[in-house]
Symmetry: C2
Subunit: 156 residues, 2 copies
DNA sequence: TTCATGTTTGTAATCATTACAAAATAGTTT
DNA sequence: AAACTATTTTGTAATGATTACAAACATGAA
C-alpha cells in the first residue's frame, strides 16, 4: 500500500517496513489492540520484531496523531487506529471494547476554563448487551472489572 | 468522626481504624491521590500500614461506590473521593488533575445501545491554564504526557 | 566506501499491582 | 475469660507492562 507510505511520509515519519506493518495492522484492525496482541500477531510477518519497537512506534504514531492510546483497560494500554472523535464502552464481563458514536461538544472547543485540550477520552464501563442477554450472567455486580491480564490461570 | 463510621456501616463495611483513616484521607482530600501518595501520607498515622491494605480497601470502597478509581494517569491509578458525576482534566506538563464540571447526559441514562452503564469516565488531556501562562512553556507539544512515576531520576 | 544519523533489537531495570499465607484483630459462644 | 471462628491486616514474593539503555543494523549523503 503506497497509501500507508504516504501517510507516514506526510508526517515526517520514515516509512520503514516495521512501521508500515504496524500502521496497517492498527488501522485495518478495528479491535483496539494491546502491545501484547500486536506483537503476537506481527511476529508471524516479522520474526525479529521486538516489543520495544512496538512501544516506540505506537508512541510515535500517537504523538503524530495517527493512532489514539486508550487507557480504558486498567493495566494494559490499547491502541485505536480510528482517530476521529468517538467514545468507548468496556464490558467488564467479556472485556470487549465497543465504539460509541457520540457527539461530545465539550472537547471540540479546544479549550475549557483556559486549559488547552489536546485529547478527549470518553469511557463507559459496564456490561455489554450480549453479556446481559447471555443466560447465567443476569446478575453481574457493577464495578467488577476483569482485565485480560488477570483472567489467566495462576502459576502457583 | 462518627459520620464516617456510619457511612461504612451503612454499606456493610466493618469500620476498622485503617478503613476510617483511608476514607477520611480520600474524602477530605481533593487531590485524586495515588496509592503511593496515600501510603506515604498515612504511615505517619499508622506506621504498620501496608500497601496491600490500601489496595484492598480502595477496591472495596470502589465496589461499594464510596470512591471512584481514575485511570487518567497512565501507569498509576488515582482515587477520587467525590463520586458525584464529573469529568477530569490532566495537565501533561505539571501532572495536575483538575475537576471539570460538565453535564454529560449520555451516561446518566444508565444504558446505551442495550449496554448497561455502570461507570462514566470523561478525561481531557492537555496543558492547564497555569502552565500555558508560565513563561518558557509556551510551545508544549501535544501528547507529551509525563506521568509522575517517570519523572524521577534514573538509578542507573 | 566512509561517515553520520536514524531505526531496530535484546536485555536488564523499574515499578504498579496481585497472589498468598501468616499474624493480628474482633465477635461469638461456652 | 478461654476457645473458636471469621474477618482484617500485613509482609513477602510473584507477575507483567513499560522504560532505559546500548549494541547491532540499515539508510542516505558526501
Amino acid at each position: 500500500m503506497n497509501v500507508l507510505k504516504d501517510i507516514l511520509s506526510e508526517r515526517g515519519i520514515r516509512p520503514t517496513f516495521q512501521r508500515l506493518t504496524v500502521l496497517a495492522a492498527v488501522s485495518e484492525n478495528r479491535s483496539h489492540v494491546t502491545i501484547r496482541e500486536l506483537h503476537a500477531a506481527l511476529v508471524k510477518k516479522i520474526p525479529t520484531l521486538s516489543k520495544t519497537t512496538l512501544y516506540n512506534t505506537l508512541e510515535l504514531f500517537s504523538a503524530k496523531g495517527l493512532v489514539r492510546s486508550l487507557s480504558i483497560d486498567p493495566g494494559e494500554a490499547r491502541y485505536d487506529g480510528v482517530v476521529a472523535p468517538h467514545h468507548h464502552f468496556y464490558c467488564s464481563v467479556c472485556g470487549r471494547i465497543i465504539d460509541i458514536e457520540i457527539s461530545c461538544p465539550t472537547g471540540r472547543a479546544g479549550e475549557i476554563h483556559g486549559h488547552r485540550i489536546d485529547e478527549v477520552h470518553g469511557y463507559f464501563k459496564g456490561v455489554c448487551r450480549d453479556c446481559l442477554a447471555r443466560p447465567g450472567q443476569t446478575s453481574v455486580p457493577p464495578g467488577k472489572h476483569i482485565p485480560a491480564q488477570r483472567r489467566r490461570i495462576s502459576h502457583a
